[in-house]
Amino acid sequence: MNLRRLQNNIYLTLMYAFFYIPIITLIIYSFNDTKYSLIWRGFTWGWYVELFSDADLWISTWHSFILALMSSTIATSIGLIAAVSLYRYRFLGRNILNGLIFIMILSPEIVMGASLLILFSKLDLPLGFFSLLLAHITFCMPFVIVTILSRLVSVDKNIFEAAKDLGAQDFLIFRRIIFPLMLPAICASWLLSFTLSLDDVIISYFVAGPEFQILPLQIYSMVRAGVKPEINALCSVLFCLTLGLVLLAQFALRKKS
């Protein structure tokens, strides 16, 4: 019995090592004072200083930030309304809507990227900020709906009945009951959408234009050139940032559950 437990623990440790050693190594080497080798040559902030003085990088960071801010806000708003409707109303095509959201989460990103590229060309929408915004809202929304819906089903349905009996209309119920109750889930969805938008490569690759450079795509083109300490530093910053957002989101979801 003890042997089995030991085996299990070794196996779990190895798995977590597999998950985390590459990332931890990346972060450690972003402080290494040498350009090419893996040998530790001492601690430096140099790569970060270099990073922060790169004007192009600041522009694409700003673009990505604005894009993530707007797309996560809009996606969360529409997703919230969608989740509430799916939960509360029985309507024609409800199952179709459910199925569509399910398929959107499962389908490979490349399919959505390609289809949106064709759509935007048919709509004569130039590729740039707006094409990216619409695409990011669309791929974040299903995740918002699923996150909020999974919290909504744990709410006591009698609350809505009571509110209705007391004369509250749907919008009032939404504003005074659902919104406050769902606030943790709403925050979590917003944070997760923000990270999804900040990290997305595949869909953005299809619908980005030359005028509006964004961070993940810039990282992609840098990474293709090979390992460099500046990229280590950039990736470490972005990883730690998204890590913080994910932890916040999980914290919001755990609370009062």
Binding site: F19, S85, F171, L196, D199, I219
Partner: protein, 284 residues
Amino acid sequence: MKRDQNFKYFSLSLIWFWLFLFALLPTCFVVATSFMPPHQNDILSQTSTLENYQLVFQPLYLKIFQKSFVIAGLATLICLFLGYPFAYLIARMQGRLKNFLLMLIIIPFWTSSLIRSYALIAMIKTKGLLNTFLLSLGFISGPLPLLFTNTAVMIGLVYNLLPFMILPILTNVERLDSQIIDAARDLGANRMTTFRRIVLPLTLPGIIAGCILVFLPAMTIFYIPDILGGAKSILLGNLIQNQYLIAQNWPMGSALSTVLTLILVSLIIIYLIATRGNKKRDWM
């Protein structure tokens, strides 16, 4: 009562409008484009043809399909064998440690897989950490040429997609009633029989969901073969991206994308058949 209905209609029309315009309509466009003659990027053209689909079955494309299937299939199997016991052990844990370990699996799920793939380069390159480690232990006599091979692509895929296999199985195991397992043991079934006859069938929905979440991205995340595999490793995702953005051959790209969607639909049908009768299908 009037305003009541207003809120409902406003919500429903907003969602339907958005999903129609940005999900259903574009999909129809892709299917329509896939029947256009090659390099004809305007779907308003009159002629339609099956040429692109015939091309999919030409040796050149068929080979890429085959290779994608093999690599993605292998990656899925490795994820399943590595991930299933892991998910099972974590799901059966209790308390704070479990929450912490769970969090450590959710983090890779949400953080950038591009960054995590990049982090792998430093691990597996010729003078990387893995080779240095193995050399110093004396397991190998010379450095393994891993980077820019299919093995590197496989490692990259498994590394990135493993959480997508673990999480659905984990939720599935958590919902498993442990009394059923106890009952089986009481009735004399050994560990192996209990697993094969009780646990495995009951966690099949989680396994299938995990396989869908790993298999399709494994074929289509084009940046993993691109940065870890070098020029030789062309998978389906690279091909589609190439057809759309470099060759500017949207009809061919659309045909490939449509085939991919059909694969997804058939996998979902398998999933639905396997979960028939289950009321709860929430797997995330």
